[in-house]
Symmetry: C2
Subunit: 245 residues, 2 copies
Amino acid sequence: MESVFHKVDCLHCRLSALCLPYGLRPDEISRLENIVQRKRPIKADDYLYRQEDQCLSLFAVKSGSFRSFISNADGNEQTVGFYLPGELMGLDSFKNGRFHCSVVALETSTVCELPLSRLNELSNKIPNLQAQLLRIVGTQIVSDHDKIVLLGNRSATEKMATFLLMLSQRYSALGFSSTEFNLTMHRHDIANFLGLTIETVSRQLSVLSKKGVITVKQRGVQINNLDSLKTIVEPCLPNSFKFVS
Amino acid sequence: MESVFHKVDCLHCRLSALCLPYGLRPDEISRLENIVQRKRPIKADDYLYRQEDQCLSLFAVKSGSFRSFISNADGNEQTVGFYLPGELMGLDSFKNGRFHCSVVALETSTVCELPLSRLNELSNKIPNLQAQLLRIVGTQIVSDHDKIVLLGNRSATEKMATFLLMLSQRYSALGFSSTEFNLTMHRHDIANFLGLTIETVSRQLSVLSKKGVITVKQRGVQINNLDSLKTIVEPCLPNSFKFVS
DNA sequence: CGCTCCCTTGAATGAGTTCAAGGCGCGTGG
DNA sequence: CCACGCGCCTTGAACTCATTCAAGGGAGCG
């Protein structure tokens, strides 16, 4: 029988090393596949879910990118993070079963849906899955802490350079170029995420551009001198942090 | 046989509703108790653990308070959070088995140590424990996101008011006064946590003091007008947020 | 008593914001 | 195919809030 959902194949998914199947044996992966649902693509600016919605599933990014944000009483938003392929969205719902962020697609994107009821069931049976889930949760916490450090005491220049380098590294981990990629989010989103204004972001990009460190063409960014960026960022990084060279 | 460790009694611990035993049956709690170790008190400024240390145990605050922070390459620190009784420290180690923050005591404090090996073992056997661990992890993520929102686009006044209100609520949840408590951390720590300078923190406290909203005596703070604080903070809060009145 | 540490207060400075205008790319419609 | 208009981004100039620099107060302790 034809399903409205596409066939799910975690075993051969190039993202599996970054995603939930990591560390699982092939037979365990196939059990995981059985509970995963692939939905139709989500268009740019469409919501994946909204703050306060009941969480029935976690979502892994299959392709594209997403932005998560928290809306405040005064109508403002604070962007909390950007999600790239292989990353898991909805972990904040573990607190009380509701999402604490809204998530929208930045471009046409697809997700793998993981129904919580079945995921819980399965992770009780597969210790490796349980372990990987906790690893992912720990990764989320560490990355949130890095954001706190970034927002805490850093200049606009440092914030901008860090932002570019983080994207560079994440794309690189996905097998994409670390020196040439698109900023799928708007300048507004970058600014909001970094605790800056859109004008400041624009100016910082200009400065880096004029120095020849990067080349900006609309949404496309090319990093001409990774080392310059690293030099800007280095003093702000945790002692533990090591750039992949 | 006398142990160097004190007798652990989660069942009658007044913190159990906030801590790991929450949601467990009495028999499950007693199994948890068996793996918990109480160590001798930690003095102010002593490290509980250091960034990069291998994580063999999680720690729950039994009494006192702690500060967690990340050290950067340039020798600066960024305070990431403050821990009060009932809260679990070390969750960031789930990423790769190492702590990503350092934690020091702000005053003489005690902790309950939860050896990871035995905790993992036990949580595989007790689904309720597993569930509560995920709830706590989710709570940590949500609270980190709240910090990101706070640091992102808020004025010094809003940051300061939010900080005081958050403490007020956390103390209140612990059964302490919500209007009178000590700031166990230094001004420097508050400033660093909020992404401000120590002078700005001092000035903000003075302003609130002169308005009569709070009374500050050294480390002691008395909130004279909770509503004024809430009025300052309200526009910055997630839509979902409701103050306990 | 004198020292130190921590905090407060004042005045000058400056990084980033705000306000304002203009440019560029792109889709739509003439 | 070009003109127009819109959304998004860039740039400039004035301003502002927090920082920086500097000095002083006060609690705690030897």
